[in-house]
């Protein structure tokens, strides 16, 4: 009992390394203490050792399969490794044993929110709040769910309520910031994010919000942000309907522009605008991150993935411009270099958008393969060995990427 209490205290104080030591010492003598294995899993999670946490949680459940707490911990471990399916199943099992536990219900709501099952998430979170009306986590998640549903007023109200319970709650400030940002109040959102990072400067939720709010001060970026917010609020089928609809509409427009010569320039202009819009809707985020690197306040808020992506984007854009100019200076220099660099920004953006998720590696592999094709399409023509099919493979592969990666969303 005393080891558990000690470990609980240490975990509460974020002293995960000390909690780990305490629990390991205890488990060396009591290897079958299921609750200690569960607490050890929480300590590992805090230290970012997700795989070890999962093993400890599984061990805990195997020792006492009928207890709710180990199942709840296991569910949280699955969330950490992005395995939402198992996280949900385990969370359901935990709730079967303890249907009124606010922490378990909150975890359940968070998983459902990640799975975009918003109505079910709201039900779980409401139950949590019925059992514990001051449960901060449930209020925070509920605010996120409501924001994702476009119910900004309610989202703001619940975050405000959480802040009234605890005025030093960074997460609720950030939740208010995101709600303000999505409803178009960029200035207000920046204030909330600044309050959030002041309280907890290590909160990714707050820092990413702050960077987004800083970028959204720019009208062009703001336009795209609103577009993204709107697209994200659509149901998957409506989203696909919209994308395919626009695509078909543009194909028709192009056909018409080819046959009907008087309005061809106008239609051509609209078509060019569409291409630019489609291109920027993919790449504007990492492109703006290049500028954020020069902002004293924002540069430390970017995560490693965003920094790497902005570096690659800067390289590709400069490379496209340089190679384009080279084609004028050196007539033999292939235009594929410049065009390919621009095309590559699409998969690079999509790949780093998945930084820290298990989809990152497959996306990265695909992007590296496209990059090799891009280089081949520069080097081979210079060497006098032009293979057109390789170029079409590159273009087709890039366009296919934009469609395939949409399916994963």
């Amino acid at each position: 009992m005393s080891t558990i209490s000690r470990a609980e205290l240490l975990l509460q104080q974020n002293k995960y390394d000390l909690a780990e030591k305490e629990l390991q010492l205890h488990l060396a003598e009591n290897p079958n203490d299921a609750f200690s294995h569960a607490y050890l899993a929480l300590a590992y999670s805090g230290l970012g050792k997700d795989q070890k946490a999962l093993e400890a949680a599984k061990q805990s459940v195997s020792l006492i399969p009928d207890a709710s707490f180990p199942l709840y911990v296991l569910s949280r471990c699955y969330v950490s490794i992005d395995n939402l399916k198992d996280a949900l199943a385990t969370s359901e099992q935990a709730l079967r044993f303890a249907p009124d536990d606010a922490d378990f219900l909150c975890n359940h709501g968070a998983i459902l929110c990640d799975l975009k099952k918003y109505e079910e998430a709201i039900t779980a979170l409401n139950s949590a709040l019925e059992n514990d009306p001051e449960h901060a986590g449930s209020k925070q998640i509920k605010s996120i769910v409501l924001r994702n549903q476009g119910r900004y007023k309610e989202a703001d109200d619940i975050a405000q309520e959480a802040l009234e319970d605890n005025p030093e709650d960074a997460h609720s400030f950030a939740a208010k910031g995101w709600t303000a940002l999505d409803s178009g109040n960029t200035k207000e959102s920046l204030q909330h994010f600044k309050s959030a990072v002041m309280i907890d400067p290590n909160s990714e939720f707050a820092k990413s919000g702050m960077v987004m709010a800083l970028k959204a001060q720019n009208p062009l970026f703001n336009l795209f942000y609103k577009f993204h917010t709107w697209i994200a609020s659509l149901s998957p089928s409506a989203r696909w309907g919209f994308i395919i609809g626009i695509y078909v509409f543009m194909r028709v427009l192009r056909k018409v522009s080819e046959t009907n010569s008087p309005i061809a320039p106008v239609l051509g202009f609209i078509f060019a605008l569409y291409i630019l819009f489609a291109f920027l809707s993919w790449t504007i985020d990492p492109i703006f991150n290049i500028f954020m690197r020069f902002n004293q306040y924002a540069k430390y808020a970017l995560n490693r993935g965003e920094i790497i992506a902005s570096n690659i984007m800067a390289f590709l854009l400069i490379s496209a411009a340089t190679q384009y100019l080279l084609t004028f200076a050196l007539p033999w220099y292939p235009i594929t270099g410049a065009i390919g660099a621009l095309f590559l920004t699409l998969p690079v953006s999509g790949t780093f958008n998945r930084w820290d998720t298990k989809k990152f590696i497959p996306h990265l592999v695909y992007t590296i393969a496209l990059s090799i094709l891009w280089v081949a399409n520069i080097v081979l023509p210079i060497a006098g060995n032009d293979i057109p099919s390789l170029w079409f493979l590159f273009l087709g592969g890039t366009i296919a990427y934009t469609w395939i990666s949409q399916m994963g969303k």
């Binding site: 209490s5 000390l18 079967r96 605890n166």
Partner: protein, 442 residues
Amino acid sequence: MTEEQLNQLKSAVELSPDNVVLLKMYFNGLKALHKWNEAEEIISNLNKLEPSVEHQVEFAQVLYHLNKISQGVLILENALASDSNNMEAYKLIILLYYKENDENTAYKYYKRLKRIDPDFSDEEIDELFSSEDDNSSEDDKIRLLSAPEKITPIIPLEKPDVSFDDVGGMQSVKEDISMKIINPIKHADLFKQYGKKIGGGILLYGPPGCGKTHIAKATAGEIDSAFISVGINEVMDMYLGQSEKQLHEIFDFARNNTPAVIFFDEVDALGASRNDMRGSAGKNVINQFLQELDGINASNDGILVLGATNAPWHIDNAFKRPGRFDRIIFIPPPDAIARKEILEIQLKDKPKMEVDIEKVANKAVNFTGADLKSLVDYTIEEKLKVILKSGKETPIKTKDFLSAIKKIRPSSMEWFETARNYAVYSNQGGQYDDIKTFLNIK
């Protein structure tokens, strides 16, 4: 008992709340699954419906787990009044008093228990009293436990034999501490004449393994004072035992032995943001710590409180107000001079070396003492692998160390990533300016 069965029992109890058999079954289930809060409610009802010594003991057992010491003691005293030979009640009351750090009373009950059953043996209870001298009489033991000086030094007192000369490098830190601490104590009269109080609190913060404890000891050595070191384990015990009294005793002990340095390692555990400790049992201890720092009930003149922490951001701002930890000193990783000294010690008895230590020290930027030790270990291991493969014994050279440096990530890096965020976004009052300077952030 599974949770499913427990839920079924709960429903049954809700239907017939006066059914003693059902309540007992439900209580046993709750106990088995460590659900002490619910168990408390059930056993309380059970005891009302069917008052008995057995239920009272069960009740006290639950209260023991919930840290409700005085309530548990009260119930057990009633139980023992009804059944003065109940061994379980004795055992539990001993544990309760011990948990409250009232070793005297715990021992008195232990003695009564032994009088009733001289052959009584229980591993948990025997362990509590086994450390006493077995040759002394039982009366001696009580006297020992009754004497106040026996209770107080739970925390070891030492006179450190290290001084600033034993701390490599860290010149600016030493100068800082001299001005803020050592001179006011060494020239106490001068300071008194100018109306400056001696004592107060200083917070040392920085990445782990950079010598915070060492410099604290050296500070005590410089002023030739008593050094009382309180570690994380003692603090956790205070929380668990709800023992703010123990904290008071530490300060009182220091007040009787001035000049004294009380050193709290991992002080963020004791000065945790009360926000973080919401609903926790530790609040009383935190409040007691504030009172002791303020010296509300007794003067703190001549007492220096040093705190060390890796996470100053988790310390409640209340602790950083004037008169408490009002001076905050950043202890960075060892500088090049200190690294050279550490490496010289590490390589002292290793003959097969042809190393330019200064060059290695200059390259090992941000390496802590522990990192330098693993650098030496790693380099030697790598060299041995090569020797075993080639069969040629060659000395370890500077370049071996330099290539090893590239492969070891200094352990302080992770700390600086977190610290940088606080320095950039949460630097109210410039409290983390030293980190900004160290990291060259404008």
